[in-house]
Amino acid sequence: MALLNNIGALTHALDKEMERDKSVVVYGEDVGHEGGVFRATVGLQQKYGKDRCFDTPLSEAAIVGSAIGMAINGLKPVVEIQFSGFVLPAVNQILAHAARMRNRSRGKYNLPMVIRMPYGGGIRALEHHSESLEAIFSHIPGLKVVIPSTPYDTKGLLLSAIRDPDPVIFMEPKRIYRAFKQEVPEEDYTVPIGKAKIVKSGKDITVVTWGALVREAQKAIEEVEKEGINVELIDLRTISPIDKETIIESVKKTGRFLVVHEAVKSFGAGAELISIVNEGAFLYLEAPPTRLTGFDITVPLPKGEHHFIIEPKKIAYKIREVVKF
């Protein structure tokens, strides 16, 4: 057991898996010598050599495209995109190839590869350093999209992702990279992809969220529980394939549903969740399934970002609204 923050859990998991499985290679911009701009890969080059952990040219399409080639040729690449806003030059590789190689080759070529990327706002950053693009990747068949919210899950989900025969988009809520620590077991364990986690059971309303907002929702829930509202909180963990069952079962129990995400509202993951709730628990609904999300704008620069960021207060406000409906 070690007390680790989310970044520490990432490094630890990568270290363990590189040790266990010689076919795992880790690379990206500044990932080798420096250990990544967030230091997620620190120490790995020293330990496993420049062949297994290395820096690349500034070239996202080549980073992802070469990872596809490596996965075909027997390796398990785990590549880092420095910020999720910079994944866009690699979108052709991800959507047109990574997602499809298996189907295209009728199962001949699996792509056991992971594309890691810090995402989300709240770090007072420049443009393109704050977006949440999970809905886009989740719309593409053939990809899996995972977002951990705790050090324990970070390790367990990353190990699942690396061992998964399909390509996994691993989105890391960078705002909480160093926000808190948790005991993470030394031993090998995995957290399954495709399974949401009931963080807290409750009976009045189901709140689903992920990433950095799980903690914010927890704070909000503390508030509203004082007022007698009993909330069931679900950490989605995998955005695609989505764990419909857990959500539907919860809403059947509570009759009320709120999804909270930082990505812009329209055509976001919240919409998918609301549709799932409609499809699976319609007759149990006592209030309209509701979303609390980012506005339909580009994440503002730091001097305006406070308007955009979803604070516990806002979540509490929305919970009350849905419960009172």
Binding site: V25, D51, R52, T56, P57, S59, A61, A62, V64, G65, S66, A67, I68, G69, M70, A71, I72, N73, G74, L75, P77, P89, N92, Q93, A96, H97, M101, R102, N103, R104, S105, R106, G107, K108, Y109, N110, P141, G142, K144, D164, P165, D166, G194, P241, I242, K244, E245
Partner: protein
């Protein structure tokens, strides 16, 4: 080294076999086993016959879209013959000759163009990727395959194909630059067939040759007569050897010509003169090679006639099989998106089956 002798900046093209099939410079003639020479020729003829017949089938409404490669057989077969079975082929979409030489069956190729994914599931020992439709994106896969080969300490190289049009894509640049930086054992084979659909080579880029783009990456590049199978073999072999020695990638520009339409949906008369096509027909890569083989005592007109006849019926039979193969099953449509079907997919699959049952289809 050929890449030094035919430095792209000198604007000299490597040519070994002239239009009449005579050796231009005996020093340059590559050594190729007779069996291999014949295999190369056979493959080129098969590619030609299969190509012509595919066009016919398509016009009869029996084949779907097809991208002919008539005229480019030497560029393809000459290059692919220079790699080993354990090496990788990363195709674009118009390299029938290379695929056949690499061991893909014509039936599979036809199945692919016939609109069936199963045509891209090559047998386990054929180290080739499926067709890549998004132009130039496959080059990064080749770079990755080659990097993996190096990382694993294996000795395999990759050869990747791209068109003249493809060199304008950002991914061309990224793949070659990446490969150069990591000394990845990969050969970037540009088939400059003068056209990208209706856009002529001169509109793609202002550089005089495509081979000279190698200079941007600090790697060797060479322009080769792409209708000369021996020149293609020699240039590729040198590049393959270099790659295997750990000296990194090479760009080869094969100067060739697409004699047919871009695909069966294309009407080339809109954008090019028939006289241009006629001019290139004189440079036919197969005729040249035949002459060389006959001169070498390896071939004869009689054998040739027999070969064409054999392939005519082989192609016909193959297509018949393909035509009889029918539709893709519902299960197969769902089964390959993920290693295991997701709950979502299972639900959609079941729901659709229910619909089909209820609606009596």
């Amino acid at each position: 080294m050929l890449t030094e002798k035919f430095n792209p900046l000198k604007e000299e093209m490597l040519n070994i076999l002239d239009y009449e099939g005579n050796i231009v410079d005996a020093n340059l003639e590559p050594f190729i086993e007779n069996d291999n020479l014949l295999k190369m020729y056979h493959t080129m003829v098969l590619a030609k016959v299969a190509d012509i017949k595919a066009l016919q089938y398509q016009r009869q409404g029996r084949m779907l879209t097809y991208a002919p490669n008539r005229g480019q057989e030497a560029a393809q077969v000459g290059s692919i013959a220079a790699i080993e079975k354990s090496d990788w082929l990363v195709p674009a979409f118009r390299e029938l000759g290379a695929w056949l030489y690499k061991g893909v069956s014509l039936e599979q190729v036809y199945l692919y163009w016939y609109g069936n994914e199963i045509g891209s599931k090559f047998s386990e020992d054929v180290k080739m990727l499926p067709v890549s439709v998004p132009i130039a994106s496959q080059l990064n896969h080749a770079t990755g395959i080659a990097m993996a080969s190096k990382i694993k300490g294996e000795n395999d190289v990759a050869i990747a194909y791209v068109g003249d049009g493809g060199t304008s894509q950002g991914e061309f640049h990224e793949a070659v630059n990446f490969a150069a930086v990591f000394h990845a054992p990969v050969i970037f084979l540009i088939q400059n067939n003068q056209w990208a659909i209706s856009v002529p080579r001169s509109m793609q880029t202002k550089s005089k040759t495509l081979a000279q783009k190698a200079i941007a990456y600090g790697i060797p590049g060479i322009q080769v007569d792409g209708n000369d199978v021996l020149a293609m073999y020699a240039a590729t072999k040198e590049a393959v050897d270099r790659a295997r020695r750990g000296e990194g990638p090479t760009i080869i520009e094969a100067v060739t010509y697409r004699l047919g339409p871009h695909t069966t949906s294309d009407d080339p008369t809109i954008y090019r003169d028939d006289s241009e096509v006629k001019e290139w027909e004189k440079k036919d890569p197969i005729e040249r090679f035949k002459k060389y083989l006959i001169d070498k005592g390896l071939w004869s007109e009689e054998k040739d006639k027999a070969l064409y006849e054999e392939y005519e019926s082989y192609v016909g039979e193959t297509f018949k099989k393909v035509e009889e193969s029918g539709l893709v099953s519902l299960e197969d449509v769902f089964k390959y998106t993920y290693d295991e079907m997701t709950p979502n997919l299972i639900e959609q699959y079941e729901e659709y089956k229910k619909y089909l049952e209820e609606e009596g289809q």
